[in-house]
């Protein structure tokens, strides 16, 4: 991502918030991600320069925590829960069906056209309606491969 003057304005605002947040790098990365949806390399470089903190410190934290993304994500985010309850109620099958429907190869999470990202999380805490899938922040309980495939097809249109 290029640092345009518009982007720079945003980054300056984040920098101000960062000072208010007791200089907390996790909060800083969260602010960047809230703004851009992921953590663009160029922004890390920008902050590293301003704050005189080596980039490695940022990446050390960004790679430690699962909810920081270093790659741009798709327009639609499908979050499949892989908690214990979802696991025993067939989350694997649901995820598998979504992967096939989206044409995602092994190890890939985002479709080539950037329309979809399929991610797995440890537990969203909605175990009593397992298996659970969250599509664009809306929670869907008791998912089956058929239901999820239909939802994805509807989003493709």
């Amino acid at each position: 991502m290029e640092i345009t003057s518009n982007v720079e304005k945003t980054l300056n605002r984040i920098l101000k918030d960062f000072s208010a947040e007791e200089g907390n790098i996790i909060s800083l990365l969260q602010l960047i991600q809230d703004e851009f949806g992921y953590i663009p390399e160029s922004t890390v470089g920008w902050f590293s320069g301003r704050l005189d903190i080596p980039e490695s410190r940022f990446y050390g934290i960004a790679t430690f925590y699962a909810r920081f993304y270093q790659k741009e994500r798709g327009k639609n985010i499908i979050t499949a829960c892989c908690g214990t309850a979802c696991h025993v109620k067939g989350a694997d099958r649901v995820i598998n069906a979504a992967r096939i429907e989206l044409g995602l190869a092994e190890g890939e999470n985002t479709t080539d056209d950037m329309d979809f990202t399929l991610e797995q999380v440890a537990c969203v805490g909605a175990c009593s309606i397992a298996p659970v899938v969250i599509i664009n922040k809306k929670v869907y309980g008791r998912q089956t491969s058929g239901r999820l495939t239909r939802e994805i097809k509807a989003l493709k249109k």
Partner: protein, 593 residues
């Protein structure tokens, strides 16, 4: 709230919203509006949301209270609302077909609700609703009438132990921290509920966030802390939203901030969002995460009560622990201690999930038997299948088998059989669950979540996982089971924090109770529960197949072919063994072995 003549309560926890709670609530609102109730009576009417009342599997659940008579409806959809309003509210004749059935009431009968007493009854987004159930009375009493030592004594006498898993006596923790001389102390609420299969803390915060805040105020006063943090998972957006709203409202009422309730005590709370690391539930890791660093545990001592956040004395309590505090202060330590067993006082909230009929959130007195939980509250096994085991304590816990179902659920008894109470996840497994695969599942989780500081945990869990991978893929070797046991014991003995010390538990406990299942995978290359993909085959039984085509539509790999009304065939080459066909076939014509 009880003075209201008409009250409609719609369950809107995460489960309720997923089932359409928002739409049901607005359908009730507009239907009631259309009734044109005279202004005089309107005062007594209220339609509002409530947090989780436990049985999320029946959502959307709706309570209608008319003149203090309560009726509960289950599985409500927006298009059902008008009939309920017409017949029940206008006609005073409840819609019998949609009322919650007997097993809904059985689900609640053996429960004892302390922490959850107001969850599901009050609007979690309204501080006035909390006031109406004596909310913040305990904080008031503490700040105006009690000394710090009085508070600590009450909590000690109640016998309350930490509900996050370790079970350390809360009063003792407060006493130690209270005794440390330092002008700056902190209290942290640990809401980083990371155990997969557990959602007690989410439900408490979503259903009654003020109870947690009140517990924190009391704790802060007792130890002398001026600042508090709630460290909460970002995976719980609704809980975060309701907590923030509650903090803002409490601030406006001077229950937080400077000179609370005109006393000399000042205290404020900040929310810190987690960034997705299970290990941050460990207290020293949580502290450094709040400080903005990688969440890696450190050796104890010094304990956080002496040197915690930014090196200052810090108390860390779990959500459920804190939510118990106002009740103990209000109703007295003896009342609290009257529940539970001698060493485990009070109640515990569990997330009952898996293969039982009634999955949901339950609160039971400590010492209740597992059998009562599963068969009386849980309603027995779903789909008439056979009980195999119950997994408690998530990735740090173990399995409990059928012959041990009579044991009491308390800290000591569960530890004795190789499991733990843990934070409260309880996943029931039936004969279609493979125990090796379950152990592998937990190891995959802990291996990813290991922070990497201790070699035995970082590399040991990886090796354990590799062995389990091998076994579930039918490539297990003689000696693998013994290797798992040896390695597991070593990891437990040589890791620094709770994650490594407990990570091998799911493996060790499944080997202890289900050794033949491991042996079947290794020696016979068979998965007795027909779960492990590499060891099973799907076939269609010609004599049972009606040719309905359901499996053809369900198959994501186009592996099933056949004409309508004629037996279909399944190509084992194309089959990805996802099991979709097995799930959709109504005639039992798909064979899995």
């Amino acid at each position: 709230m009880k003075t209201n003549k008409l009250e409609i309560m719609v369950c809107m926890g995460t489960g309720g919203i997923a089932a359409g709670g928002t739409e049901v609530l607005s359908a009730f609102e507009s239907a009631i509006k259309k009734l044109k109730i005279p202004a005089k009576l309107k005062k007594g009417c209220s339609v509002h949301k409530v947090g989780c009342r436990g049985l999320c599997a029946r959502d959307v659940l709706v309570d209608i209270i008319i003149k203090e008579k309560k009726s509960t409806y289950q599985y409500i959809k927006p298009d059902m609302v008008q009939r309920i309003v017409d017949e029940h509210i206008v006609g005073n004749q409840p819609v019998a077909d949609w009322l919650a059935t007997e097993d809904y009431h059985n689900f609640h009968e053996k429960q004892v609700k302390v922490v959850l007493s107001d969850c599901g009854n009050i609007n979690p987004e309204s501080i006035d609703a909390y006031f109406a159930v004596n909310g913040y009375e305990a904080a008031k009493k503490v700040l105006t009438l009690m000394s710090r030592q009085d508070v600590i004594e009450e909590i000690k006498r109640s016998g309350l132990r930490g509900r996050g898993g370790a079970g350390f006596p809360t009063g003792v923790k407060w006493e130690i921290c209270g005794g440390v001389k330092n002008a700056q102390k902190y209290i942290i609420c640990n809401a980083d509920e990371g155990d997969p299969g557990a959602f007690m803390d989410r439900a408490i915060i979503e259903g009654n966030p003020h109870s947690v805040i009140e517990g924190m105020i009391i704790g802060a006063y007792a130890i002398g802390a001026g600042k508090g943090y709630v460290y909460i998972r970002a995976e719980y957006p609704l809980a975060v939203e309701r907590l923030r709203k509650a903090l803002e409202d409490a601030g406006k009422k001077n229950l937080l901030g400077k000179k609370i309730l005109k006393t000399g005590f000042s205290f404020d709370i900040k929310v810190k969002l987690g960034a997705g690391a299970f290990v941050c539930g460990e207290e020293t890791a949580l502290i450094v995460s709040i400080e903005g660093q990688r969440g890696m545990p450190r050796a104890k001592p010094p304990f956080p009560v002496h040197s915690g956040l930014w090196g200052k004395p810090t108390v860390i309590n779990n959500v459920e622990t804190l939510a118990n505090i106002p009740h103990i202060i209000r109703k007295g330590p003896d009342w609290f201690a009257s529940f539970g067993t001698e060493k485990s006082r009070g109640t515990k909230v569990f997330a009952l999930t898996g293969k039982v009929k009634n999955t949901g959130l339950i609160e039971v007195p400590m010492g209740i038997s597992l059998k009562e939980i599963i068969y009386d509250i849980g309603g027995g096994m779903d789909k008439g299948r056979d009980f195999k085991a119950v997994q408690t304590g998530g990735p740090s816990g173990g399995c409990i088998t059928a012959d041990l179902l009579d044991i009491n659920v308390d800290y000591e008894s569960l530890a004795k059989v190789g499991s733990i109470v843990g934070s409260g996840g309880m996943v029931v497994l039936d004969d279609t669950d493979c125990m090796v695969s379950i152990a592998r599942f937990f190891l995959e989780f802990t291996q990813v979540e290991s922070c990497g500081k201790c070699v035995p945990c970082r590399i040991g869990t990886k090796r354990l996982l590799e062995i389990l991978d091998r076994i579930t893929a039918g490539k297990g070797k003689e000696g693998d089971i013994e290797l798992l046991e040896e390695l597991g014991k070593d990891i437990k003995a040589s890791s620094l924090c709770g994650l490594g010390q407990t990570a091998p538990n799911p493996v060790l406990s499944t080997i202890k109770y289900f050794r033949p299942e491991y042996e079947a995978h290794i020696r016979d290359m068979k998965c007795p529960a027909a779960v492990c993909k590499e060891l099973i085959e799907f076939t269609i039984l010609e004599e049972l197949c009606k040719g309905c085509g359901a499996c053809v539509r369900a198959c994501p790999a186009n592996a099933i072919k056949g004409e309508k009304k004629k037996p279909h065939t399944l190509s084992s080459e194309l089959c990805v063994k996802c099991g979709s066909c097995f799930d959709v076939c109504k005639f039992g014509a798909v064979k899995k072995e």
